[in-house]
C-alpha cells in the first residue's frame, strides 16, 4: 500500500509519521499514534464516537481521509486537559454519572466541548441539539445533559469549581450503601484512557477477517482456501474442518458450529476466517477463497416454518420448533364463558438490534504454558469457557477467558459468537490474533431481539376483575437456537402480568427460520409479552369505564399472592409503584378514551418542550448573561 508523508499538530505536539494512503484520520490516530480514546462506532459518520477537532472544527474522523488532515491542528479527547488531569467538562461527566459503558463518551465529550466553545451560555435545549450527532445507547442522555449544564455553569462562572467535586454526603455517609458514590470507572472513560478489546495490541498480532454467507440457505458444495492460504502475508485460514473437538455452541442447545458445516442457514453466517499480518491483506485474501453454494429452499416466516412440508433447518428439530413453554392454571374456557366482558386482540413486535456502540472485538493469544487466552467483551465467560474447551478439545483450565470492558452489551454479547474462531485461529497460527467487527458486520450477523406475534384473550367481570387470560405468543428464533428457550420461558412466566388471575393459559413458542438468529436482549421476552397484557388492559379499562391505574390496582398481586406458576410470593410492591407514579405524574383519573384534548395534567414540570429542529440555536449575544441569571 502507498505511503503518505504525514505531519500534523496533534494535542499540541508536532507529529511526523507516515500514513497509509488508504487510511482515514481515525485509523491514523488509533493505529499509528496509539490515541485509542477516539473510538470507531459505525465508520459512517452516524454515531459521533470518533469525533475530534480539526483546525478547531468538530469532525467525525471516520469520514476524513488522513491526507485531508495533513498540516492540520488536531485535538483528541486525550488532549482536552493536561496529562493525568481532566477538563471541567470531563469532571462534570464524572460528577453527574454521565458515563455508563463509556464507549460513546469520548465522542460525546468532544461534541459537548464544541457546544460550550460555541456558546458558553447554551441552554439545555441548545445542548441537546448540538449533541444530536452523537449516539449513546446506555444513559438515556439525561445525565449527559446534566453534565454539560454543570460544566457550562462552572465554565462561565455561575458556579465555582467546587460544584465538580464529590458531594459532602458521599464522604460523611453513615453507610456507603445507599449513597451516591461517584462511579469509580468514570475518570478512565471520560478521558479515553480505558482500553476496550479493540484498543488492545500485542506485538506480532495478526488481523482476522471472516468470510460470510451471501445467501440465506444453501449447501456448501466447495470450499477451497488453498489460494488464500498461499498469499504473502497470510498466516492462517480456518474452516470447520480445522475444529479439533466437538463443534457446536448455544445456550441451551448446541446447534451452531463456530463456522458453517456443510450448510449455511442465514445471510452473514461465518464460513471461513483468514488471519494476516495486516487488515488489508486479510480482506483481500477473503476474495481468494473459492466458495460454491447450492441454494436450498428457505423459510422466513415463523408460521410458514411450522406448516407441514416447510424447509427443515436442523435435523434435531424436524418441526422447526426450538422450544414451547406452557403455563396452566385454573379453567380458562369456563372462566371466559362466565366473564361479563371478553376482549380479544392481536399484537406484533419487531426485531431490533442491540446497537451497543462498541462493535464485537477480541484479542486472543497463547501463553507460555500453552494456555489459550481470549480477551473479549463477553457477558458470559464462564459458559463460553465450557463450550470452547469442548470445541477446541483443550482441558478446561487451558482455556482462559478474560472479560474486557464491555462497550454496551444489553444481552447481545451473552450468546457466544466469534470467540471460537479467534481461539481456533490462534491454535492454528500460534500467534496472537485480533478481530474487530465493522458495524455492518455486527448488524448483519449477530443476534436480534425476538420478533413476536401474540393473540390475547382476556375475560373480566363488570367491576374490572380479570377472570382469565389466554395468550399465544409465536417468536421467530432465526437460524440458530441461541437463547430462544430462555426467552420463551421468561416471556411465558411473566406474560399475564403482576395480577391475581385465577385462570391462566399461556403458550410461547420459538421456531427456527432462515432469518438472522434471535438471542438474548435486555428484558428477554418479558418486554414482548408484557407489552401485550399492558396494552390489552387499557382496551378493557375503556370498555368498562375504568381508570387505567384503577383497573391495575383492582387486579394487582398483593403480599402473599400466588403467581401464574403457583409460587407464593412474600411482599409485593406493585401498589406502591402505582401510587408513586400516580403521585409524581399528577395523574388525572378517568377511563382511557381519548381524554388527551381535555385532560388537565398535561404539560407539567416533568414534561419537556416538543422539539422543532433548528429552533433552539440562539445567537450568542449581550443578553445571554441576563437570561442565565
Amino acid at each position: 500500500m502507498a505511503s503518505l508523508d504525514m505531519h500534523a499538530t496533534v494535542n499540541g505536539r508536532e507529529v511526523r509519521k507516515p500514513a497509509g494512503s488508504h487510511m482515514r484520520l481515525l485509523d491514523y490516530l488509533r493505529d499509528e499514534l496509539n490515541l485509542t480514546g477516539t473510538k470507531e462506532g459505525c465508520g459512517a459518520g452516524e454515531c459521533g464516537s470518533c469525533s475530534v477537532f480539526v483546525d478547531g472544527v468538530l469532525m467525525k474522523s471516520c469520514l476524513m481521509p488522513v491526507a485531508k488532515a495533513k498540516g492540520a491542528v488536531i485535538e483528541t479527547v486525550e488532549g482536552l486537559a493536561a496529562r493525568g488531569e481532566l477538563s471541567v467538562l470531563q469532571k462534570a461527566f464524572h460528577k453527574t454519572g454521565a458515563s455508563q459503558c463509556g464507549y460513546c463518551i469520548p465522542g460525546m465529550v468532544m461534541a459537548a466541548t464544541a457546544a460550550l466553545r460555541s456558546n458558553a451560555y447554551a441552554d439545555r435545549e441548545e445542548i441537546k441539539e448540538r449533541l444530536g450527532g452523537n449516539i449513546c445507547r446506555c444513559t438515556g442522555y439525561q445525565k449527559i445533559f446534566d453534565a454539560v449544564e454543570l460544566a457550562r455553569d462552572v465554565g462561565n462562572g455561575t458556579l465555582t469549581a467546587r460544584a465538580l467535586e464529590a458531594v459532602d454526603e458521599e464522604r460523611q455517609a453513615d453507610s456507603f450503601i445507599g449513597s451516591n458514590v461517584r462511579r469509580i470507572d468514570a475518570p478512565s472513560k471520560v478521558s479515553g484512557a480505558l482500553k476496550y478489546a479493540g484498543d488492545m495490541v500485542v506485538p506480532g498480532m495478526l488481523h482476522m477477517q471472516v468470510l460470510r454467507s451471501p445467501v440465506p440457505h444453501a449447501r456448501i458444495v466447495e470450499l477451497d482456501v488453498s489460494e488464500a492460504e498461499a498469499m504473502p502475508g497470510v498466516e492462517g485460514v480456518i474452516t470447520c474442518r480445522d475444529v479439533p473437538g466437538t463443534d457446536g455452541f448455544g445456550v441451551f442447545t448446541h446447534d451452531q458450529p463456530i463456522m458453517a458445516r456443510d450448510r449455511v442457514r442465514y445471510v452473514g453466517e461465518a464460513i471461513a476466517a483468514v488471519a494476516a499480518e495486516d487488515l488489508l491483506t486479510a480482506k483481500r485474501a477473503l476474495a481468494r477463497i473459492k466458495l460454491r453454494l447450492e441454494e436450498l429452499p428457505a423459510v422466513f416466516d415463523p408460521e410458514a416454518a411450522l406448516a407441514p412440508g416447510a424447509p427443515v433447518l436442523h435435523e434435531g428439530a424436524p418441526d422447526n420448533v426450538v422450544m414451547r413453554i406452557p403455563i396452566r392454571k385454573g379453567d380458562v374456557d369456563k372462566a371466559l364463558a362466565e366473564a361479563d366482558l371478553v376482549v380479544e386482540e392481536s399484537y406484533a413486535t419487531q426485531a431490533i438490534e442491540h446497537a451497543y456502540l462498541e462493535p464485537e472485538a477480541g484479542l486472543a493469544y497463547l501463553e507460555a504454558d500453552g494456555t489459550l487466552t481470549i480477551q473479549s467483551p463477553s457477558q458470559n465467560i464462564t459458559h463460553h469457557r465450557h463450550m470452547l474447551s469442548k470445541i477446541l478439545s483443550l482441558p478446561i483450565n487451558k482455556v482462559r477467558m478474560i472479560m474486557s470492558p464491555v462497550g454496551g452489551g444489553f444481552g447481545g454479547k451473552e450468546d457466544m459468537i466469534y470467540q471460537g474462531m479467534l481461539g481456533l485461529m490462534v491454535l492454528k497460527t500460534r500467534q496472537p490474533v485480533r478481530y474487530i467487527y465493522t458495524r455492518e458486520e455486527s448488524i448483519l450477523s449477530t443476534a436480534k431481539r425476538h420478533p413476536t406475534r401474540t393473540r390475547c384473550r382476556m375475560g373480566l367481570t363488570r367491576d374490572g376483575r380479570i377472570l382469565a387470560t389466554e395468550m399465544k405468543l409465536l417468536a421467530d428464533g432465526g437460524a440458530y437456537a441461541m437463547s430462544t428457550e430462555g426467552v420463551m420461558r421468561k416471556a411465558a412466566i411473566l406474560a399475564a402480568g403482576p395480577y391475581a388471575i385465577p385462570n391462566v393459559r399461556i403458550d410461547t413458542l420459538g421456531v427456527y427460520t432462515n432469518n438472522t438468529p434471535s438471542g438474548a436482549f435486555r428484558s428477554f421476552g418479558a418486554l414482548q409479552s408484557e407489552f401485550v397484557t399492558e396494552s390489552h388492559l387499557d382496551i378493557c379499562a375503556e370498555k368498562l369505564g375504568l381508570d387505567p391505574i384503577e383497573i391495575r390496582r383492582i387486579n394487582a398481586m398483593r403480599d402473599g399472592a400466588v403467581t401464574h406458576t403457583k409460587q407464593t410470593l412474600g411482599s409485593v410492591s406493585l401498589l406502591k409503584v402505582l401510587e408513586a407514579v400516580e403521585k409524581s405524574s399528577g395523574w388525572e383519573p378517568g377511563p382511557p378514551g381519548v381524554r388527551g384534548p381535555e385532560r388537565a395534567d398535561l404539560g407539567g414540570p416533568g414534561a419537556r418542550r416538543p422539539c422543532t429542529l433548528g429552533a433552539r440555536f440562539r445567537k450568542p449575544g449581550a443578553d445571554d448573561k441576563q437570561e442565565v441569571a
Partner: protein
C-alpha cells in the same frame, strides 16, 4: 385547531431477578490488604451498569474501609472465582451478596485478632471508613494499623463467599415452579405529543417508579431507569431491523434509526425500596425491568391523544398516519362529522 395532540398513558410491569427457573450462584474472594485497603476478586466486569462502583460500596461498607480503598480484580476465568454471567439483572443481586459474604468472612478473621489484641469480645468490634474500634471500650485504630497488627500475629485477613439463589425449574405440563426468589415491580406514565399531519410521536415525559429492593447507589439506579426507558422508546417508535427474504435493508446506522438526544423525554424517577428478605443485603435489581413498562405506556398515551391503538411495533409516523386515516374512514361511516369515541 392544532394538528398536534397530547395524551397520557400508564403501564405496570414485573420482573424476576437473576437466572430463570434454575439455581443461580456467584462466588467472591476478599482480602483486607496493607494500608487498610482491600482486594476483591470475583468474576465480574463493568458492562456499563455501574457494578464496579456498587461492589466497591458494598465491600467498603462490609470491611469498614472507604470505596476508593477497594480494588476489584478483573473477570478472568484463570484468576477469579466464578460469578457466572453479566446479565439477567443478576449482577447486584448475585455478586454484591457474594462479595458481602466474602467480606464478612474476612472481617471475622480480622475481628478475632483485634478482639484478642484488645482483650474484648469480637462481637463489639466495629469498623467504618478506614477506622476500627471496640464499641463500649476506649479502643480505636486506623484500618491500616489493624491490618498490620493482624498480620504481625501471623494472620492474613482473607475471606470467601458464595451466594445462592434457590430457584426451581418449571413443570413441563403446567409450568408450575419457583423461577425466582426475588421479584421487582415497576410502573410508568408517559406523556406524548402526536402530530396528526405527519404521524410523528414525541415522548415528552416519563414518570417512572421502580422497586429495586435496597438501592446501593440511587444515582446509578436512576441512570439504569433513564437508559432503559430510552432503549424502550427506540423499540416503541423507530427501531426496526428489517429483513426481506433473509436480507437486511437496515445494515448501518444511516438506515437503522436510534434515539438521539433530540428524541428523549424528560424522566422523573421514584425509587421504591422493598428489601429482599432472602439475601444478606436486601437489594434486588433494575437493569432489565426498567424498560418493560415504557412501550405499552407510550402506546396507551398515543391512544389517549388520538384514539388510535397501535398493536404492531414500532409506531412509526407512517403507521400512525395510516391508522389515523383508517380511523377517520371508520368514524366517517359510523357517525359523520364527529368522532365515534
Amino acid at each position: 385547531m392544532s394538528a398536534k395532540k397530547r395524551g397520557r398513558g400508564v403501564a405496570a410491569a414485573w420482573y424476576g431477578i437473576a437466572r430463570t427457573a434454575t439455581i443461580d450462584r456467584a462466588g467472591a474472594w476478599a482480602e483486607l490488604d496493607d494500608g487498610g485497603t482491600a482486594k476483591i476478586l470475583t468474576g465480574v466486569t463493568e458492562i456499563g451498569e455501574g457494578i464496579l462502583t456498587v461492589l466497591a460500596q458494598v465491600a467498603a461498607e462490609e470491611l469498614g474501609v472507604r470505596p476508593e480503598d477497594v480494588t476489584i480484580g478483573d473477570n478472568d476465568t484463570a484468576r477469579s472465582p466464578e460469578a457466572a454471567h453479566a446479565g439477567a439483572t443478576r449482577q447486584t443481586y448475585m455478586i454484591a451478596n457474594a462479595v458481602a459474604l466474602a467480606c464478612r468472612d474476612a472481617r471475622t478473621r480480622l475481628d478475632a485478632e483485634m478482639a484478642d489484641h484488645w482483650g474484648v469480645d469480637a462481637e463489639c468490634i466495629r469498623a467504618h471508613g478506614g477506622e476500627i474500634w471496640a464499641e463500649g471500650h476506649n479502643m480505636r485504630l486506623s484500618m491500616d494499623e489493624a491490618v498490620h497488627i493482624c498480620k504481625a500475629r501471623g494472620v492474613v485477613p482473607v475471606g470467601s463467599g458464595s451466594f445462592t439463589a434457590d430457584h426451581t425449574g418449571l413443570d413441563p405440563e403446567d409450568g408450575s415452579g419457583r423461577p425466582w426468589q426475588a421479584y421487582v415491580y415497576g410502573a410508568q406514565v408517559a406523556e406524548v405529543e402526536v402530530d396528526t399531519a405527519t404521524g410523528e410521536v414525541q415522548v415528552l415525559g416519563i414518570w417512572a417508579a421502580h422497586d429495586v429492593g435496597r438501592a446501593v447507589n440511587p444515582a446509578g439506579v436512576e441512570g439504569q431507569i433513564e437508559g432503559g426507558i430510552v432503549q424502550a422508546l427506540g423499540q416503541a417508535l423507530m427501531e426496526d431491523y428489517k429483513l426481506a427474504d433473509g436480507y437486511t435493508s437496515t445494515q448501518g446506522f444511516a438506515k437503522y434509526i436510534l434515539p438521539t438526544s433530540l428524541d428523549v423525554p424528560q424522566v422523573t424517577s421514584t425509587i421504591i425500596e422493598d428489601p429482599d428478605p432472602l439475601s444478606p443485603l436486601g437489594c434486588k435489581g433494575i437493569g432489565e425491568p426498567a424498560m418493560v413498562p415504557t412501550v405499552p405506556a407510550v402506546m396507551n398515551a398515543i391512544y389517549d391523544a388520538i384514539g388510535v391503538r397501535i398493536t404492531s411495533l414500532p409506531a412509526t409516523p407512517e403507521k400512525v398516519l395510516a391508522a389515523l386515516q383508517d380511523k377517520r374512514r371508520r368514524d366517517g361511516e359510523a357517525a359523520p362529522g364527529m368522532a365515534a369515541e
